[in-house]
């Protein structure tokens, strides 16, 4: 049976040598190497549930009246898009399960990418020959953020509209060209032409998924052609990679992980409510709600928008830099710019232009770890500010007090974290040296 299948494939594709090699491809073993896989499986769930949703969603801003089964919305004016999203939640059997699973999968997708990125950064896995793989990964993160934003924006519930208004304002705030770009994308001043909904839709269900899918393929091809990185160990050197073969060793592991990810996502989708759009209601330009929070991966932008003090940079009547630019555009662009630049910055700073198949432990590169920890803390603190109003509601800490304190703390705490990380790394390394010396001395005594 197996023999016949293999012969069939080989005689038609000539692929037997390739298959044999693939089956015995080496996967170094460490739990943190699986984070990227989690993102991959979340993407698969996203595509599957997403296709199902497109079978029911109507991307149209035509205004209709609701006369469905959900009583609080009876008779309300809303877009066909919002109505179809409510209907596919209530009327379509399994529709709500699919919608919620899709939403959870998006949140997990971005989270897995970011954890994967953090692992890659602190172990120096982005160094040559894998810097290109790293750039592709970063690009996917950027696209994933945009993809998620479009996804919850096109539903046209109240939170969608508020998010879009903010996105529009951030685009408008780009110096010299912002208003022109915004008019190009929206087709008109906000809320734009009806076609804007189709533009979001084609982006969300067609363009971005295809680009992300293509980049995933490229990413994995590059990973495989250069082989995985590994931590140094017995027999594990710059020249030799040691680990479990694809088949049989890695296959049940990866499948187990894939099914686990899918299981968690469907359990979340069925049991834990997310984005109950019927509670927000349809969006109208004149409505907004208090206590709105975006999906978690955009929280850092809300935080940054809130932190910037009140000013537009102007020259006479000309508005050079509108306020929303700093938090909404300059901040994330700077972060991504820095991440894209990091491999070459580090090469230049350390003078290390060599190939690296062995990973650093974070302590092995104290400066990288210190700066990385500082930047991560900086972003995290800004992210926390995005929930300052919730913190006020939950803990009674004055909102204005929090904002004023954080305007300083987002600079001070990261520096402190950086200094501490550097110290910890240095101490750990010093400790290892002492340990090694003691072992050597003991060996001498025994001898």
């Amino acid at each position: 049976m197996i023999k016949r299948a293999v012969r069939y494939v080989d005689e038609r594709s000539g692929g037997a040598p390739f298959i044999r090699k693939t089956l015995r491809y080496v996967f170094p073993d460490h739990w943190s190497f699986l984070l990227g896989e989690v993102a991959l499986y979340a993407f698969v769930v996203l595509v599957a549930t997403g296709i199902y949703l497109t079978l029911f969603f109507d991307p149209s801003l035509t205004q209709v009246h609701y006369h469905g089964g959900y009583v609080p919305l009876q008779g309300r004016t809303m877009s066909a898009a919002y109505k179809s999203a409510v209907d596919l939640s209530f009327k379509v059997k399994a529709g709500l399960l699919m919608r919620q699973t899709h939403h959870w999968a998006a949140d997990v997708f971005v989270a897995a990418i970011i954890l994967h990125l953090i692992r890659i950064f602190f172990t120096g896995a982005f160094r040559k020959p894998r810097d290109l793989t790293y750039y592709i990964g970063l690009t996917m993160l950027l696209l994933a953020l945009l993809e998620g934003y479009l996804g919850y924006s096109m539903v046209d519930d109240l939170l969608s509209g508020m998010g879009l208004a903010i996105g529009y304002a951030v685009l408008m705030s780009i110096p010299f060209v912002g208003a022109n770009l915004a008019q190009l994308i929206w087709g008109d001043p906000y809320p734009g032409r009806h076609e804007f909904e189709s533009r979001m839709y084609v982006g969300h269900v067609f363009l971005l998924p295809i680009i992300i899918g293509t980049l995933i393929a490229l990413h994995l091809t590059l990973v495989a052609s250069r082989h995985h990185t590994q931590f140094a160990g017995r027999r594990k050197t710059e020249r030799k990679v040691v680990g479990v073969p694809t088949f049989p060793g890695q296959t049940p592991r990866s499948l187990g992980l894939a099914f686990s990810v899918a299981a968690v996502l469907f359990l979340l989708g069925g049991l834990v409510q997310i984005n109950p759009i019927w509670e927000w209601g349809p969006y109208h330009v004149a409505s907004a709600t208090n206590g709105a929070q975006p999906d978690w991966y955009l929280g850092w932008l809300i935080g940054a928008l809130r932190l910037v003090p009140s000013f537009d940079l102007t020259i006479g009547h000309y508005t050079l830099v509108p306020n929303a630019f700093w938090g909404g555009a300059a901040f994330p662009l700077f972060v991504f710019f820095l991440m894209f630049l990091w491999p070459s910055l580090e090469r230049r700073a350390t003078g290390d232009y060599g190939f690296h198949n062995l990973l650093d432990r974070p302590r092995d590169a104290p400066w990288r770890s210190a700066l990385g920890a500082a930047i991560l803390t900086w972003i995290f603190l800004v992210f926390v500010v995005g929930s300052a109003d919730r913190v006020y509601v939950l803990f009674g800490l004055s909102y204005r007090g929090q904002i004023w304190a954080m305007r300083f703390l987002v600079w001070i705490i990261p520096i402190a974290v950086g200094v501490i990380t550097k110290r910890v790394c240095d101490e750990l390394r010093a400790g290892e040296k002492i340990e090694a010396r003691r072992h050597a001395a003991e060996a001498e005594v025994v001898a």
Partner: protein
């Protein structure tokens, strides 16, 4: 019945007796078989099958309450049991082995040189390279521009006049969400109202207003806006000048020591505007005051616009301070 039982027993306890194969060197490492793990995997797969079957049952039987929850539970558990079976397999059923392989060579200098040579020699016949590059560059750029041109149809690129257009002009009546007019006498202190221009599209940033009433003595409007707030009734654009959200909060201090003055607050980033001082920003990120709409009270005691806004509405952009809004 007997045969059925026998089948089940064989399935559960029978061990596959492998046919003796030709002696050959193993590629895959080997460990002794683990019959407990095999049983475990079987039961896990069985549990997955049960959960999988539950899904269509839950789907089909309308009498089952909490359908979404049970659908998620059955599908999720089905997947979870398969995942567990895979994990047991990876730990106890497949050979545990550690293999090694050489990393691929870091580069192939000879091949690199060959590639370079091929490209180099292929261009031998072009002797006037600069001319060629200039021509190619011109054609490429032109083609790029030509292909991008249709994108300009997406929206007006250079004409920014529509950012200054609002549906307000002198005499337009203010109406509420239900379309009824606002009588000045009905506007109370300590709350705010949302108003729209009568007979106009409400889904544009220039349309919605917030209306508040303050004691006339507390108003600190600049002298050129004298008369914009008849009887202390003030109208501002409802769209925040920071990021375009609707201003949906009115801070009206009920207890004296907390916050001294009433303020309009945007719930997105908490830009806070002082309605008594012409919409001045007193906290938060907004960089421009809220545009104010001059009001008048007509003979029937209803509110009408007395002109257009004091400045452009909506979030800031490069030209937002250049012009006054038009109807």
């Amino acid at each position: 019945m007997k045969r059925f039982l026998a089948t089940v027993l064989v399935l559960l306890f029978g061990r596959l007796r492998r046919r003796p194969r030709l002696e050959r060197e193993r590629i895959v490492g080997t460990n002794p078989p683990d019959s407990r793990a095999q049983m475990l995997v079987f039961w896990l797969f069985l549990a997955a099958a049960v959960c999988g079957v539950a899904f269509p049952v839950v789907y089909a039987v309308n009498a089952i309450p909490h359908q979404t929850q049970f659908l998620g539970l059955s599908l999720g558990l089905c997947l979870a049991f398969i995942a567990l079976a895979c994990m047991v397999m990876s730990r106890s059923l497949v050979p545990v082995e550690e293999i090694e392989e050489d990393y691929p060579p870091s580069s192939h200098p000879e091949e690199q040189e060959k590639v370079e040579q091929i490209v180099d020699e292929s261009g031998d016949r072009i002797t006037r390279r600069r001319l060629f590059v200039v021509g190619l560059g011109a054609a490429g750029t032109a083609l790029g521009v030509a292909l991008l041109t249709p994108l300009a149809s997406l929206g007006p690129v250079f004409d920014v006049s529509s950012f200054f257009r609002t549906p307000w002009r002198r005499g337009v009546r203010l109406v509420g969400e239900d379309g009824s007019a606002f009588r000045a006498a009905d506007i109370e202190e300590g709350t705010f109202y949302t108003a729209f221009p009568e007979h106009a599209d409400r889904e544009q940033m220039g349309a919605p207003l917030v209306i508040v009433r303050l004691p006339v003595g507390e108003l600190r409007l600049p002298p050129e806006r004298k008369g914009w707030a008849p009887d202390g009734i003030l109208a501002y654009s409802k769209i925040c000048t920071h990021a375009g959200c609707a201003i949906a909060l009115y801070r009206k201090p009920t207890f004296a020591p907390t916050e001294p003055r009433p303020a309009l607050v945007c719930p997105c980033h908490y830009s806070t505007f002082d309605p008594s001082r012409a919409g001045k920003v007193i906290f938060g990120p907004a960089g421009r005051p809220l545009p104010q709409l001059p009001l008048l009270i007509d003979r029937r005691g209803e509110l009408r616009a007395a002109g257009n806004f004091s400045g452009a509405v909506g979030p800031s952009w490069w030209g937002v301070r250049n012009r006054q809004p038009r109807s």
